[in-house]
């Protein structure tokens, strides 16, 4: 049997989902498969075989490229997508609504050396061009979790920017699929799936079909996210999946082949541009490192005191690489500056590292070093300075309490947490903040290279004076103790660093180009740049690095900016511009101004504000939906009321014959009963939500329930000369859900089948179960429905015939099924009958769900 994808009970199942030989396709396209000779092998169930044959006769197979990704050929005036699958079959598909493919011409901006800024520009542009209300760029981390680094949304939507998502959100093989396919489109999470019809039991490789069906896991994800239609394009850098361009819409986006082609053409362009951005950014880092090293070397050339240079000077090595303290060990002597553990702890650590024989070690978590962790340090770098003299340098970094915002609690991976949990990527997308402690910011490649280069330059400078570095350092340390003024100077520097919040001083003037005077410690960490590196930097370079438009901000103004920071990812900042000093000398023409930019983090308050706005918008939508339902109910009530009032007004008419009077009375009663049914079912619908809550804790035997309902309705069926045939399994089939809800589902399905059957016909009820679901099919051979009618059959108050009813029956079934975590499928043909299949989760014992959470959880 072809694979039937269902929601899973464990994440491992998601990871092993069948991706190639899928059975279902999204019904908005027509699909057919042929062999090399043009013989039709299979086609989608929404397509007539004659139509497929017509196409196959007209296809020029010699002209087709044997490509394994969709290409385009024009046949019978229609642009067909085609490719050759791994079975050697030709796969054709087309979008019946857009016979000619005309992709939009999207030209992305040239790359810039700031990936996040580029991604944001791209989101802004694509949001304006494409029919999606949310466009975001999602970047994968090394541990396969990810983060939204850029986003553009319609007004009133809740932003996802800055949110992290665990690796489990996009299972490994889904990532593999993204990497392979040019673009992935989900036309609607409500699904209008079709199946492939071909030789019995044969499965086909449909991996690269444009309209390939969507995994229930992914559908569940989208439904939880509130996204109805989506499109995603993988972004690859150096042949590796780097991230996704992901677009979402709360309303259905009509699928068009134009859109698919646009997105698939975008894929290469996008990957190229972002690769260029990353290369430019790395190039920029190399240049910045080089410039810093040049200045370091220049500083060293005028410095004769090794220990001072290493520990206290303005170019002290630990300050260059984001450290807060350093320890220099020479033999038994330990000299420490800044924030460090006790001398004993540093010496022990040094001895341990030295005994490993390694010359370098970089550590960004100290969970197993409690003595270091106690000092609020989160990691260290170790550099051996001299093996002979037993000299080494330890640089300590401060422990970072990181606040990581997740899109929903990543530990909560199950829905229906009653007796039948079902694995879901996200039961909630609400912001959930995790505090991570016990580690420092990672020692990135750039920092490591910089440290190595600085140590090398330090060695070259002082060894060139004739002595070996180890003994020289020992001597220098002793001298330093006697030279207290240098230590006091260092102390002053430290006071400067005590300030909280980011502050940046910029020198402006008419004659001089604007440049950075100084940045404080918080800004240095946020923008991954030491104060020394920033000093003297041109304003344009600084803007490029920080993504804050300093040039555009005026004295006294307060504005808000959204930036990417090294220590906390995305942040919303309030920038206040203060004028500190302004000097002008008209005689000499000299002028100088200094502006200080104070940056306050308002990320949390901004998020709360946006979340409230989004919640208000949701409540407005809900109220509009309720008003709509109420208006429909009023409309439906007026029709029977029309007959009740109308025929009643005749009853006092003495000219009526007895038979007429009886007929009119019968009509009044019949319409009053219809009104009663309508009111009962409306009340039933209103109670569905409450039943959902009950459903989580109840189970019932579906087989027994079907038998009971069937018995209850037998008399009514006999009156209409209908027969009901039951096929129930021998064993009990226990399902999850309130008995009243499940009974209502069975009653409504059976009543509908009876209502739309004709005398003499029979109704088949079949029950079976697979591993996860009870499958109940109710089939009649009555009046049936058209494809359009099937599409709206579950909407409230929709009726397609004169036969009595409220038009709520299937709507209620659908809502109850969804509330119980099940699925409803309707197949019907006008004049031939209807088959309704429901899949209701089986009641099973609760299974343990793994809790993959990145980082260390503090609360």
């Amino acid at each position: 049997m072809p694979t039937q994808l269902t929601l899973h009970k464990t994440f491992a199942e998601c990871e092993s989902e069948e991706l190639q030989r899928i059975e279902r396709l999204q019904g908005q396209f027509h699909v057919f498969l042929s062999d090399e000779t043009g013989e039709l092998i299979a086609l989608s169930s929404n397509m007539q075989p004659d139509r497929a044959h017509e196409f196959l006769k007209a296809v020029d197979f010699v002209q087709l490229k044997a490509a394994d990704r969709p290409q385009i050929t024009r046949v019978l005036g229609i642009d067909l997508f085609y490719h050759r699958n791994s079975d050697g079959l030709w796969c054709f598909e087309f979008d019946p609504l857009t016979p000619q493919i005309k992709p939009f011409d999207i030209r992305l901006d040239p790359a810039m050396p700031n990936v996040v800024r580029y991604a944001q520009t791209m989101c802004d542009e694509l949001h304006a061009l494409l029919p999606y209300d949310r466009v975001l760029v999602y970047r994968f981390s090394e541990d396969e979790s990810g983060e939204v680094i850029a986003e553009k949304i319609d007004p009133g939507m809740e932003p996802f920017i800055g949110l992290h998502y665990p690796a489990t959100d996009i299972p490994r093989q889904a990532r593999a699929l993204y990497a392979q396919t040019p673009a992935r489109m989900v036309f609607s999470n409500q699904g209008s799936d079709v199946t492939m019809v071909g030789p019995k039991g044969q499965q086909f490789d449909l991996t690269h079909i444009v309209s390939r069906g969507v995994s229930p896991y992914h559908l569940s994800y989208l439904q939880n996210m509130g996204s109805l239609s989506t499109a995603s394009v993988a972004i690859s850098v150096d042949g590796k999946l780097w991230g996704l361009l992901s677009m979402h819409s709360e309303s259905e986006v009509m699928p068009t082949s134009d859109l698919y082609m646009t997105l698939s053409q975008l894929k290469n362009q996008l990957s190229e541009r972002l690769s260029e951005c990353i290369a430019l950014s790395e190039q920029g880092i190399v240049l910045r490192n080089q410039s810093l090293l040049d200045r370091f070397q220049q500083h060293l050339s005028s410095e004769f005191d090794l220990a001072y240079s290493l520990l206290l000077g303005s170019f002290a090595v630990h300050r260059m690489v984001g450290g807060v303290g350093a320890a220099v060990i020479v033999g038994d002597a330990v000299a420490q500056v800044g924030e460090t553990p006790q001398s004993r702890v540093s010496r022990d650590l040094f001895s341990r590292l030295q005994s490993t024989g390694k010359a370098r070690e970089f550590c960004d978590s100290v969970y197993d070093e409690p003595d270091i962790a106690r000092s609020r340090l989160g990691g260290y770098a170790y550099v051996e300075l001299s093996a002979e003299a037993g000299a080494g340098l330890l640089i300590f970094r401060r422990q970072v309490t990181q606040s990581v915002s997740w899109g929903g609690d990543p530990r909560n991976l199950a829905i229906n947490e009653g007796k039948s949990p079902t694995y879901t990527p996200r039961a909630s997308f609400e912001r959930w903040t995790e505090l991570v402690q016990g580690q420092c910011l990672p020692w990135d490649k750039r920092t490591v290279e910089l440290l190595e280069a600085m140590i090398l330059k330090l060695s070259q400078r002082f060894e060139s004076t004739g002595g070996a570095l180890g003994p020289l350092l020992g001597y220098s340390l002793q001298q330093l103790v006697h030279n207290r003024s240098k230590i006091l100077q260092r102390l002053n520097d430290q006071f400067e660093q005590l300030r909280e919040g980011m502050a940046i001083a910029i020198q402006t003037g008419d004659s001089e180009p604007r440049s950075i005077l100084s940045i404080n410690y918080a800004a240095s960490i946020a923008f991954n740049m030491s104060a020394q590196e920033a000093e003297g930097m041109g304003i344009e370079d600084f803007v490029q690095t920080t993504n804050i438009p300093f040039e555009a901000l005026e004295n006294g103004s307060i504005s808000q900016v959204s930036v990417w920071t090294n220590d906390a990812g995305h942040r919303d900042l309030q920038v206040e511009v203060q004028q500190q000093f302004d000097f002008q000398n008209p005689k000499t023409g000299e002028s100088i101004s200094i502006q200080v930019f104070c940056l306050t983090d308002i990320t949390q308050s901004k998020r709360v504000e946006l979340a409230l706005h989004a919640a208000y918008r949701k409540s407005e939508k809900l109220a509009a939906a309720q008003n709509e339902t109420f208006a429909k109910l009023m409309h439906e009530m007026r029709t029977p009321l029309n007959s009740i009032i109308g025929f009643s007004s005749f009853l006092s008419d003495e000219t009526l014959s007895e038979s007429e009077r009886y007929d009119f009375l019968e009509r009044v009663v019949r319409n009053a009963q219809a009104l009663q049914v309508l009111l009962d079912q409306s009340r039933e619908q209103a109670h569905i939500l409450r039943r959902d809550i009950e459903a989580a804790s109840e189970t019932c035997s579906l087989g027994k329930l079907i038998q009971e309902v069937s018995d209850d309705l037998t008399l009514s069926a006999n009156e209409r000369a209908l027969s009901i045939r039951l096929e129930l399994p021998q064993s009990e089939v226990w399902v999850n859900g309130a008995r009243a809800s499940i009974r209502q589902i069975v009653i409504n399905l059976l009543s509908n089948a009876m209502k739309f059957s004709n005398p003499g016909q029979s109704i088949e009820i079949h029950l079976e179960q697979d591993r996860d679901f009870a499958i109940l099919r109710v089939e009649d051979s009555g009046m049936g429905m058209t494809t359009q009618q099937v599409a709206s059959a579950t909407e409230p108050f929709v009726r397609f015939s004169d036969r009595p009813g409220s038009g709520l029956g299937l709507s209620i079934v659908n809502q109850l099924i969804q509330a119980n975590g099940g699925q409803l499928t309707i197949e019907s043909e006008l004049g031939k009958g209807t088959r309704v299949e429901t899949r209701i989760p089986l009641a099973v014992n609760r299974m343990d769900i793994q809790k993959p959470v990145a980082g260390l959880l503090v609360n």
Binding site: A631, T639, N642, D802
Partner: protein, 125 residues
């Protein structure tokens, strides 16, 4: 009372309402009037092909299984060009605007009583 219209068309998909309007017409306008009942836009289209008898009055439901009241009037074409139109709908008057034919017409919201019907027929006569 002025002379009531003679030839009537009723376009209404609900069988009870259709029958009720026929009875209302006969009660108010007399037994000798001609009443043609149609239940869908498709019925209207078919009737327009078969008949050349213009109607004096049209009772029009707005929500039909295959279209709107406006579609029904379009299909009936010249048969209802001179007819006075009574729109009898369960829709809220605010919502009905999208489905009604071009004016003039008389709006009679459902439920319709015999008195209300009778009064409207007097107005259109």
């Amino acid at each position: 009372m002025s002379k009531a219209p003679l030839n009537w068309i009723v376009v209404e998909d609900n069988p009870d309402s259709r029958f009720l309007f026929e009875r209302f017409i006969r009660k108010v306008a007399g037994q000798e009037v001609n009443v043609v009942s149609l239940s869908s836009v498709e019925d209207c289209r078919a009737y327009a092909k078969l008949s050349d008898e213009p109607a004096d009055a049209l009772i029009l439901d707005l929500m039909l299984p295959d279209g709107t009241g406006r579609d029904a009037v379009d299909c009936l074409g010249s048969l209802v060009e001179r007819a006075r139109i009574m729109v009898c709908s369960a829709l809220d008057p605010d919502k009905a605007a999208d489905f009604v034919p071009d004016p003039p017409y008389w709006l009679l919201p459902k439920p319709v009583s015999l008195d209300a019907f009778s009064q409207t027929v007097e107005e259109i006569a």
